[in-house]
């Protein structure tokens, strides 16, 4: 459960006392955690929504705002929507990116062109395509659907290159041996390439999870049906309807954050490595 994936090397001898560093880091940690605490406190008491000054510690904490969110907002439905869209996106990502990356390890005519194309596609951020992307999705009849929400994230160029680097590190002799033994190309990918590239797979899963789970702009554009909203959209629409007149907003906020934080804390090492390699390759 380290925050860093990189092995620790010997440190330079430190001649300074440690307490100023601890003091600075504690202050920073306090600033980073304070907003979480404040929202958690409000979601459990709701006491300072209309009253000033606020109390710093929770007074009479009660879970009823969470009960409100569960029943008044179809929270379970939103959660299911988010899980389905992210699941689709992650599955398609792992499959398609691995396939494309495997193809790129082969030598064929037009390979250089494809790589150039991918590299220049990487320069087109999704935010600069929203208008036609909306029209295209409409023409495909995918507005208000899970597939429509997930489709643009079905393949990511950064991850293709992460896979490619990982596949190229697989010893060629191993693949040749497998081929002599009669394994088909698909079997080679599934039985040799992917098991030897677990860290690339983990990177891909985590990056596509973060992107699809937190995606907001795209569902905002294509989802009008209240029952099809994923969590971020549901949260933002709730904010539009109620502003900050109820502690349920903050309970909703906490309920939305908990799955993400849990997954992050469980796979912290993979998160850090995934984001670092995603950034350095991209």
């Amino acid at each position: 459960m380290q925050a860093s994936a990189i092995k620790h090397k010997r440190q330079p001898v430190n001649r300074y006392p440690h307490w100023p560093i601890h003091l600075a880091l504690l202050t920073i940690s306090f600033c980073m955690l304070l907003p979480f605490y404040w929202v958690l406190k409000t979601s459990l008491t709701g006491e300072n929504i209309f009253s000033y000054p606020p109390s710093l510690l929770p007074v009479n904490p009660q879970p009823f705002y969470y009960v409100d969110v569960w029943y008044f907002i179809p929270f379970a439905r939103f959660l299911a929507n988010s899980v389905i869209v992210s699941g689709l996106s992650i599955a398609a990502n792992v499959l398609f990116n691995a396939m494309a990356a495997y193809a790129l390890t082969k030598h064929f005519k037009g390979r250089g062109l494809i790589i150039t194309l991918l590299l220049s596609c990487m320069m087109i951020p999704f935010q600069t395509t929203i208008v036609p992307a909306y029209l295209i999705t409409g023409k495909l009849g995918l507005l208000n659907t899970y597939l429509g929400m997930a489709l643009p994230t079905f393949s990511t160029i950064v991850c293709i290159f992460v896979y490619k680097a990982s596949f190229e590190a697989v010893p060629k002799s191993l693949i040749d041996a497998a081929r002599i033994d009669g394994l088909s190309e698909l079997q080679i990918i599934l039985k040799i390439m992917v098991p030897l590239s677990t860290s690339a797979v983990a990177t891909n899963v985590i990056l596509s999870f973060i992107w699809s789970w937190n995606n907001f702009l795209w569902p905002l554009i294509i989802v009008r049906d209240p029952l099809m909203q994923p969590l971020p959209l549901g949260l933002s629409r709730f904010l539009n309807d109620h502003e900050n007149t109820t502690g349920a907003l903050y309970a909703f906020c906490i309920m939305v954050l908990v799955p993400g934080i849990t997954i992050f804390l469980m796979a912290q090492k993979e998160f850090v490595r995934g984001l670092t390699s995603g950034a350095t390759k991209g």
């Binding site: 009960v67 409100d68 677990t198 860290s199 983990a202 109620h242 349920a248 796979a267």
Partner: protein, 141 residues
């Protein structure tokens, strides 16, 4: 990652199963699932929508034939969902509450009316027995 490798290279199937079970990505969903299951069983046995209570007058005597109204409270709306009258011993019972956020008020002509008492429940239609009776206050002139 190391955990995965343990799973792959361990030869005995017995150890494999245990290692897989102890893996945090298996353990946590299982634990969450268990809690959810227990909670659902509890909810299923306690959600008959029964609300019981008593109505007393200002001097502590039970009040018969008082009208008790049950309101449902939403984020923005508050609507009446049912009413009942108290028995001779001042007790009353609703059996069809479907909400988790209700308000009760008792009233009897000539005796007075109680305050609008909010009750928050942990889940929809949770059975509720009021700890304090509803107190009828004489109407102010």
């Amino acid at each position: 990652m190391e955990d995965h490798q343990i799973i792959h290279t361990d030869q005995t199937t017995d150890n494999n199963a245990w290692a897989l079970l102890r893996h945090r990505f298996v353990l946590l969903p299982l634990a969450v699932g268990a809690v959810v299951a227990v909670w659902n069983v509890y909810v299923a046995t306690h959600d008959d929508g029964i609300v019981r209570g008593r109505v007393v007058s200002a001097n502590g005597q039970p009040v018969a034939d008082a009208i008790v109204k049950l309101n449902e409270q939403n984020f923005t709306t508050n609507s009446e969902r049912g009413q009942t009258t108290t028995r001779a011993d001042g007790s009353f019972e609703f059996t069809d509450n479907r909400s988790h956020s209700i308000q009760l008020r008792a009233e009897k002509l000539g005796v007075g009316r109680s305050e609008l008492m909010p009750f928050r429940l942990y889940f929809r239609a949770q059975n509720l027995t009021l700890g304090q009776p509803l107190l009828l206050q004489p109407a102010r002139p």
